[in-house]
Symmetry: D2
Subunit: 311 residues, 4 copies
Amino acid sequence: MALTGVLRPGHVQIRVLDLNESVTFYRDVLGLEETGRDATGRVYLKAWDERDHHSIILRQADQAGMDFFAFKVDSVATMDKLEADLKAYGLNTSRIPAGDLLETGERLRFEIPSGHQIELYAHKKFVGSDLGQKDPSPYSPKFDKGIAPMRFDHALLYGPNVDKVLEIFTQVLGFHLAEYVTLPDTDIKGALWLCCSNKAHDIAFVVHPEPGKLHHVSFYMESIDRVFRAADIMAANNIKVDIGPTRHGITRGGTIYAWDPSGNRFETYSGGNTTYPDLPPIAWSWEGLGEGGGLDVAHRKLHETFLTVVT
Amino acid sequence: MALTGVLRPGHVQIRVLDLNESVTFYRDVLGLEETGRDATGRVYLKAWDERDHHSIILRQADQAGMDFFAFKVDSVATMDKLEADLKAYGLNTSRIPAGDLLETGERLRFEIPSGHQIELYAHKKFVGSDLGQKDPSPYSPKFDKGIAPMRFDHALLYGPNVDKVLEIFTQVLGFHLAEYVTLPDTDIKGALWLCCSNKAHDIAFVVHPEPGKLHHVSFYMESIDRVFRAADIMAANNIKVDIGPTRHGITRGGTIYAWDPSGNRFETYSGGNTTYPDLPPIAWSWEGLGEGGGLDVAHRKLHETFLTVVT
Amino acid sequence: MALTGVLRPGHVQIRVLDLNESVTFYRDVLGLEETGRDATGRVYLKAWDERDHHSIILRQADQAGMDFFAFKVDSVATMDKLEADLKAYGLNTSRIPAGDLLETGERLRFEIPSGHQIELYAHKKFVGSDLGQKDPSPYSPKFDKGIAPMRFDHALLYGPNVDKVLEIFTQVLGFHLAEYVTLPDTDIKGALWLCCSNKAHDIAFVVHPEPGKLHHVSFYMESIDRVFRAADIMAANNIKVDIGPTRHGITRGGTIYAWDPSGNRFETYSGGNTTYPDLPPIAWSWEGLGEGGGLDVAHRKLHETFLTVVT
Amino acid sequence: MALTGVLRPGHVQIRVLDLNESVTFYRDVLGLEETGRDATGRVYLKAWDERDHHSIILRQADQAGMDFFAFKVDSVATMDKLEADLKAYGLNTSRIPAGDLLETGERLRFEIPSGHQIELYAHKKFVGSDLGQKDPSPYSPKFDKGIAPMRFDHALLYGPNVDKVLEIFTQVLGFHLAEYVTLPDTDIKGALWLCCSNKAHDIAFVVHPEPGKLHHVSFYMESIDRVFRAADIMAANNIKVDIGPTRHGITRGGTIYAWDPSGNRFETYSGGNTTYPDLPPIAWSWEGLGEGGGLDVAHRKLHETFLTVVT
């Protein structure tokens, strides 16, 4: 009842080509806080307004992209129940023992038909924010260290079978569909914005022939002003921008798409619709995605990179 | 699972002393859209980003204040289940037939120990927003008509027995406690910020000897800039301001408290924490509420009106 | 002494291909106020924070572009003196009688070596703004009618001989050079940002083979938030955008470049440096203009349209 | 012609009761950069967007307040001419040799009839900003160190004989009067906002029986968002606020008034009207200053401290 079950995006493991360069980017330019490194060399980071131990995990690899995307659930009981439901739906699941990720409990992992590894977990160490939990201060210098997003907000993933992905997220995991795009001259939903909360979205998918691809990992900014400040800091650090600053018609959020040093796209995102499961989803045509400003309100076109550049 | 059960504040019925004057205020100064009037003379309004038929109902009366506060739930089944749970807890409930409020289904009503009438309902006519549901436009002139909040966001209510209120909202209705204030030199929670979503709060309570009182009804603004614009429009229309523009340390939202023509306090509010049920609530001491900036970050004092002026 | 002589951009006459369509754009989308029409059919408009009778004049013509750009000077004596100085420099000048433009006194006109017609005038009817001159209100609904810039801010003009233009503006008219761009691999100033005040610029030039061309007419917005709102309104009205929202490294202002219905580029601009004549100008290399973000901080490239599309 | 003669506020020497505590405040909380200390122990600071060596000078003293306020002029010739003009008006002037203030040329000093020491100077070392003068970066971490105003913007001074002050500034120094307040039930101008540029004001005066008093020193912020951020940082550092965040009806700027550790009031200010000498000044009645929102748009009252607390 109310907000239960699957709560929020909890972490994402990103593959980077040069760990040191990437840590410099995510810590000093993006402004995340490094919270740990594990025996396998992975680096853990969190944004200033996040209270759990980490949300971003960087792993050195030969190819950029995303290893897995995890949601925090409200309890082990929920994790157990959802495992049964996912199996009943026909998915294979596995368990990854507590401690595999620093300060994180047991995780349930399953591959969805788009080829992505999704995880659920119930426990991660609460580390709090700089503001504190008792009579918190309204300000910390961490608000202004680098781009300084408030949180890891969502990811957009590319892969096949998004019809099945929609079924799994809405019928098994309890998400609601906030917005979608239909493919040209069809009623087929080719892009999905899915929510487990009343945020604009918690995860999104676009249909794509190659499975398991990452379009972008998104970080939340307080305001349009802060999105503009992010552009300034990107410029000062020679971070290449893909699209923006602009507004997405879809979700109505402010946005910049840019690339991390490994070529993984990230987003600095602000605002966005408040969504609820009882409201009908907003429907975008393929023309709406492009000329209708679904992707880019200011320029109203379907940037070629949107459909072609993923990791 | 995810966001289910109680979804959001759905409507509030406000008592006003002069209906015409109040309609002028809520429609032309605050900038809500009038969506109907019923046979009893009540006036129904909605904000531009709301999609159900109404969120604010004005009723002419001899005394200002709030008649009832309603939450939308996801289904009649939820309403039935929660009725049973509320009865099991020991509350009396009643049903108000569909059609009593325009375009609204049957409502479940119960009085909570603070003396407030709370309602649950599952159905209200979806009327949509000016932007539309298919390839929506990013702008409507309604965004800028008067103060033009996006939505009715929450209310702060004053009354006795907030310990019981906390039990009902968290144990029966599934809310989580996001923040609270303890009374001077005690551990007693005297003020509560409660959420059924991951907004900063959906309803709040402050302990008060007189039951059933309204502290304020809050309207959501997109940004601090829009809160400042609200102050300008209040000034241009001679609306008396209580507190702000400032930030609440509690919820970290931008705020102005002001009074409608009947003396009901309203708030123009922006930002605010994103909350989740697994995170421990933020604890404010009585000093934190005042000198700690819980009420007013800029002035860090407990404004006398905060505790004394209610309707 | 202090701010004297040439005070500010006073008006610009823009050629439009379809007057009715253009009036609809400038009045209803851009949000200027129509203040008059003259016997020749020209339409006069002003922005909400301007106090003289008009700043924008639309003239129907077969070809888009700018007829003339005028500065207000502090007195007829200044106009007379500057006429003598301009003649001494070697320019031809002419006088246009009072009343040729509605509510405007006699104008001094001269062609500068870039091929642009520049005017000086000392008198135009003070009509005030909606806020009034005595105990002004802080808000008028005109602030939010369409894009609603505060004022006509500057223009960027393209033509040859910008070295001579620099001489005339700095040595004869008293402007200071705030920023400039040197041509590739040279010390030749190929682009100039010139100020008669301490604004970021009052007029700008880029060297171009064809004389008398208009790059854009710029309108001032209060904030980055308002620049973003302008993009939303452009989208809602299907106004084609060239560049932005972004920041210019040059002047550090927020910007959108877009096109009016005749293909004249206009800008919605915010912020920008405060400049003074005693400070050395900021120097941009050709690479700085492009990859250095002089034109576009977010994208750091020299958009092809910047150099090629003028009217 | 254009912007010549008196250019801008150049520096202000502030008396502080505890130098170390004050340096900590001005450098670490307000976020100015310390640029030097002289043999007498004075500490020099500048804001991040200022390019001359310093704008704020702190001097340890037994009593808070302002020693002198200086304007930069465009040349020694202007200084010489204005000295003659000031003498012709009837004021005594003196010269302070180059080097008395670090990196500063000879200064002309005179006492105006309000009892304040005003200075003019033509030379101060250009030190530039972090952004540089060639292909400047759009961002430096100094933008976000503490409150981080862009510049020292103006001061408001209290003293007698503001009618004479008005004469000197407008008739001798070339300023224009942008706005004024008349005393209750009179046409006597009791408060003046004066400009040598087209900023909202460069110096302001309020009539007051005691001569030579400082009401506040003002620092310029880019936006309302940044004024709100200043309030957060004030709170985090326990800086006591007087008024705001609010808007002044007078100048239409965003504002917070607060106190430095010695009790000198300072302001974080944003926006504000663009003014010109040919436009009639905006006239405020005494009621307009108070109930009309001239001082405080949100609260529309004449805060008692505004008239009584000066240093």
